[in-house]
């Protein structure tokens, strides 16, 4: 199944939309400023609608099926979010309007700030960062700025556990800090002995994902944080796995100093095929002055007759602006909608059932797949996608074969510390029947691996295309459609 490109569908003279003719006198753009040709396709509306509808049919999506992607939290995206974010009063607001015309937006952002602070146990927050990776960048810049503001210039190293996401070390490099790798112990926790040895007055901080990417809550988290604090470092919490902690534990209470949220994971805003995300950053009171600007606050207190006036404030030692305007506002509306509908009890249920689902699935595959760390997991777990008796079968083959059973594969080959890792996160929105069917598929594939390995090696068999030649793509680098004019 292949779909022609927009350019292949183009027919000169067509147009998908008409605009009214100009109703003002004619003004000519000087001829030397006019572009030569605009090599754009020419299509009618129906051509465009069919093209993109065909493309959509070639995608897997949450609306279509189960997405057990570890650390990605592919939960159901409620339809009401798409309605609230599109309300004209939100969608038509220009970001630079006078304050008195945008009180609805500002109140929503202010409330969302309050809710996220309450959920995480932090004192202050910025909603500006555009995605988790930008939240990390913001958070690590804040840590760096904090030390520098105290004249503590020798803190240039950041500790990163070997189970961490790739964004953690890449973030440190962007901020100009040096990465020090921290090993995990036999139970999947941070290795305390190694941590003690590494911690000194050159450590700016530790970036910790808890529960970590093995799906394990660090049994020594309090001690880990104390050791870093005792050395004068700060602890960054990667909020990728917050879906395990709502109403279960607040990272601020555990001693973390900074944390980013992924509203597109924990708070149900859609992943959109790769974005937009949204990555607010929360901090303790000692770091509040370093947040990116602007932050939403009350600029004129309310009176008996008048509500307060909401506006923007600039933290005194702000690391600056990390994006234009105030954040991915449309995502903030969705997250607000979700938090309001759930409330305190609903949020706790989310994490409880996310953890229940993961442990249930784990109970169904234990024994058939090797478990590198055999503990109670949180919202996700990791198994090895390999068996010694069929060494030619890899995690990738299992992942591809799952597509034939109409499932999206789990995250694979991550975390790096697990051999042939398959990282599985079911989320709370999946029912028991789906989990059972997925477990059955995993067990069936384990059997196939032994009886008919070719079935896995050549998988997938039932998808719009089969395995793609990635070497050819990188070698030939065809990054744009073929243009008929060029031939």
């Amino acid at each position: 199944m292949t779909e022609p490109t927009l350019y292949e569908l183009s027919s000169p003279g067509r147009s998908g939309v008409r605009f009214p003719k100009s109703d003002v006198p004619k003004y000519e753009l000087p001829a030397d400023l006019v572009r030569a040709d605009l090599p754009f396709p020419e299509l009618a509306e129906i051509d465009v609608v069919r093209h993109f509808t065909h493309l959509s049919a070639m995608n897997y999506s949450i609306d279509k099926g189960f997405y057990p992607l570890g650390s990605c939290t592919m939960k159901y995206n409620p339809k009401i979010n798409e309605v609230t974010a599109r309300l004209p009063g939100f969608a038509f607001t220009h970001p630079l309007q006078p304050l008195e015309t945008i009180q609805g937006n500002l109140f929503l952002m202010y409330q969302l700030q309050e809710y996220l602070k309450e959920i995480s146990g932090f004192a202050a927050i910025s909603l500006q960062p555009a995605a988790g990776a930008q939240g990390e960048f913001t958070g690590v810049k804040i840590i760096n700025a904090y030390h520098k503001s105290r004249g503590d210039l020798k803190r240039t190293r950041v500790l990163i556990p070997d189970s961490a996401h790739g964004t953690n070390p890449a973030t440190c490099s962007m901020v100009g800090l040096e990465v020090v790798h921290l090993p995990s112990d036999a139970r999947g926790n941070v290795d305390l002995v190694a941590l003690h040895e590494i911690c000194d007055d050159t450590v700016a901080g530790l970036m910790l994902t808890n529960p970590n990417t093995l799906g394990l809550f660090d049994e020594n988290v309090s001690e880990v944080i104390e050791i870093v604090h005792a050395a004068g470092g700060l602890v960054y919490g990667d909020g990728a796995n917050l879906n395990a902690l709502l109403g279960i534990a607040r990272p601020g209470d555990l001693g973390f100093d900074v944390m980013h949220f992924n509203l597109h994971k924990t708070f149900s805003t859609p992943h959109g095929g790769g974005g937009p995300g949204s990555g607010p950053v929360a901090v303790t009171s000692q770091l509040a002055d370093f947040l990116p600007s602007p932050v939403v606050g009350i600029v004129e207190p309310g009176t008996e007759d008048l509500p307060p006036l909401y506006g923007f404030t600039t933290p005194t030692m702000s690391i600056g602006r990390v994006k234009t305007f105030y954040g991915q506002f449309g995502m903030l509306v969705r997250a607000y909608t979700y938090i309001r509908m759930n409330g305190s009890d609903g949020l706790r249920r989310i994490s409880e059932f996310a953890v229940l689902n993961a442990n249930y699935l784990l109970s169904k595959v234990r024994g058939k797949y090797t478990l590198p760390y055999n503990r109670t997991c949180m919202h996700e777990f990791v198994v090895e996608g390999v068996w010694p008796e069929v060494p030619d079968i890899h995690a990738l083959d299992i992942a591809k074969r799952l597509m034939d059973y109409d499932f999206h594969p789990p995250t694979n080959y991550f975390p790096l510390i697990v051999h042939e890792a398959l990282m599985i996160e079911p989320t709370e929105t999946e029912n028991k029947q789906t989990l059972d069917a997925f477990a059955d598929a995993l067990l069936k594939i384990a059997e196939e691996a032994h009886t008919d390995p070719e079935l896995l090696k050549n998988a997938p068999h039932n998808t719009p295309v089969s395995r793609l030649d990635e070497v050819k793509a990188a070698k030939e680098l065809v990054l744009c459609c073929w243009l008929p004019e060029n031939e």
């Binding site: 199944m1 993109f52 409620p78 009063g89 959109g272 974005g275 395995r467 065809v478 744009c480």
Partner: protein
């Protein structure tokens, strides 16, 4: 609500796990901090949530009810109905990043088409899959140039007529990064700088010169000399562009740009109070390996059928970790899709027509306003879509009056540079009618009298 389990199913699952209660799954969490009481309001139903959100949204006064002349980096354009109808398909918006190409061809082909359209619009050879917004794309262009010269040319020259928020974001990303230095003619956005002044700052330490086209004030500068001089000294030059303008305006590619970045919001994305928007980045083929962010490439599957994959992934954070030049791991996927659909619907004719309408209407508005007593339109250069008006009184004062008359006035430039007191930046797009423009001019006149 969004958790489907029945009590019986929950009990069966707990039994399979071998615990009695869900609480038993959380014993690793320190007792002292386990199960905190959250002080959030009680959950509400979908019906109540919609009512509450509707109340917030109607507390705003927006371009939905007002006639808007506000631009300065975000523009109100007409968005054809098909754009939202298509991006609202769950197959698109509830899909993940296309790491599994066999079941993500829809997203991948759409990105491939986005890359093509952006490359063609800007007159460049390649484009990536998008960035968070125009400003972060500009910052990534800075990093790209810096790494192109392996850090041996630490200087980046930024024009003072670049959107001031872009300069702020670039500084957050680049100031203090290794030995990098950002240089500008003026600290604040201003009207005085000429491209020649930027040429004077060029030296063999310069990695990149960054200009905006049309600039923040809507002016179309002549960059021929600056491009030539940048290249003579071995530096790269990047253009920050408004994609609508490129419907008719000579492309940065034709002018010799090495990198082109911009804000894609005008391409079918709602104003939405500043986000989510869409950054784009296009360049020459020679620099493709220095691009940060995702790239989609064409290939074939096992049966020789055409297909698409994420390519050159070895540049990215999940492979290179601390050696990656950027930590970016998302793009603005759904916004890039919206822009792709918008550009396909408008096509060659529609893109030119919208650009042309914006050009005509802005010029008509400028002419009317320039005739008003006490008002002067500062137009020593050709302009597109946006222009600066010197007003007889404070702009906030005028805007207050305009609001009462149902208009959103232009940006008060005093907010970005006190030297520009009484200066307003006015934007006009195709959604504004002749009558709107005439009524706006009338309202401006009245506002200046009170």
């Amino acid at each position: 609500m969004f958790i489907p389990h029945t009590d019986a199913e929950r009990e069966a699952m707990l039994a399979s796990i071998g615990v009695k209660d869900i609480k038993d799954l959380f014993t690793d969490v320190p007792v002292k901090h386990r199960f905190p009481k959250l002080g959030l309001p009680k959950g509400i139903t979908e019906m109540e949530a919609l009512a509450e959100l509707r109340e917030f949204s109607t507390a705003n006064e927006t371009a939905a009810d007002l006639v808007s002349f506000l631009g300065a980096g975000a523009y109100q354009h007409y968005i054809p109905a098909a754009v939202d109808a298509l991006i609202n398909r769950g197959e698109f918006f509830s899909a993940y990043t296309p790491y599994q190409p066999e079941i993500s061809q829809g997203t991948l082909q759409a990105i491939f088409e986005f890359q093509t359209l952006i490359a063609n619009l800007t007159g460049m050879e390649v484009s990536n899959a998008s960035h968070y917004d125009g400003a972060t794309a500009a910052a990534e262009a800075g990093l790209m140039a810096y790494h192109h010269f392996r850090g041996k040319r630490p200087k980046i020259i930024i024009s003072s007529s670049v959107n001031p928020e872009y300069r702020e974001v670039m500084c957050s990303y680049l100031c203090g990064y290794e030995n990098m230095k950002l240089v500008s003619v003026e600290d604040k956005a201003d009207l005085k700088e000429s491209p020649d002044q930027l040429s004077d700052r060029l030296d063999d330490q310069t990695a990149l010169v960054m200009v905006q086209y049309p600039d923040f004030f809507g002016r179309i500068n002549d960059f021929h000399k600056l491009v030539r001089k940048s290249h003579e000294i071995g530096a790269l030059i990047a253009f920050i562009v408004n994609p609508t303008a490129l419907g008719i305006l000579k492309t940065p590619g034709e002018l010799g740009a090495d990198i082109v970045v911009g804000e894609g919001q005008p391409l079918g994305i709602p104003l939405s109070f500043g986000g989510p928007y869409l950054g784009f980045l296009a360049t020459k083929k020679d620099f493709v390996r220095k691009i940060s962010g995702r790239l989609v490439g064409e290939t074939v599957d096992g049966e020789g059928r055409r297909g698409y994959v994420l390519t050159l992934t070895a540049r990215e954070q999940h492979i290179r970790r601390e050696k990656a030049t950027s930590n970016i791991c998302s793009n603005q996927g759904l916004m890039a899709l919206a822009a792709t659909i918008y550009m396909s619907l408008l096509g060659k004719q529609g893109m030119q027509q919208v650009a042309d309408l914006c050009y005509q209407k802005a010029h008509y508005a400028a002419e009317l306003i320039n005739r008003l007593p006490g008002f002067e339109v500062l137009t020593d250069k050709p302009f597109f879509h946006e222009f600066v008006v010197k007003c007889p009184v404070d702009v906030d004062h005028i805007n207050q009056h305009l609001l009462e008359d149902g208009f959103l006035g232009g940006l008060n430039l005093a907010k970005i540079n006190p030297d520009l007191a009484n200066h307003m930046l006015v934007a006009v797009t195709e959604v504004i009618s002749k009558e709107d423009i005439e009524a706006f001019a009338e309202a401006l006149k009245e506002a200046s009298h009170d």
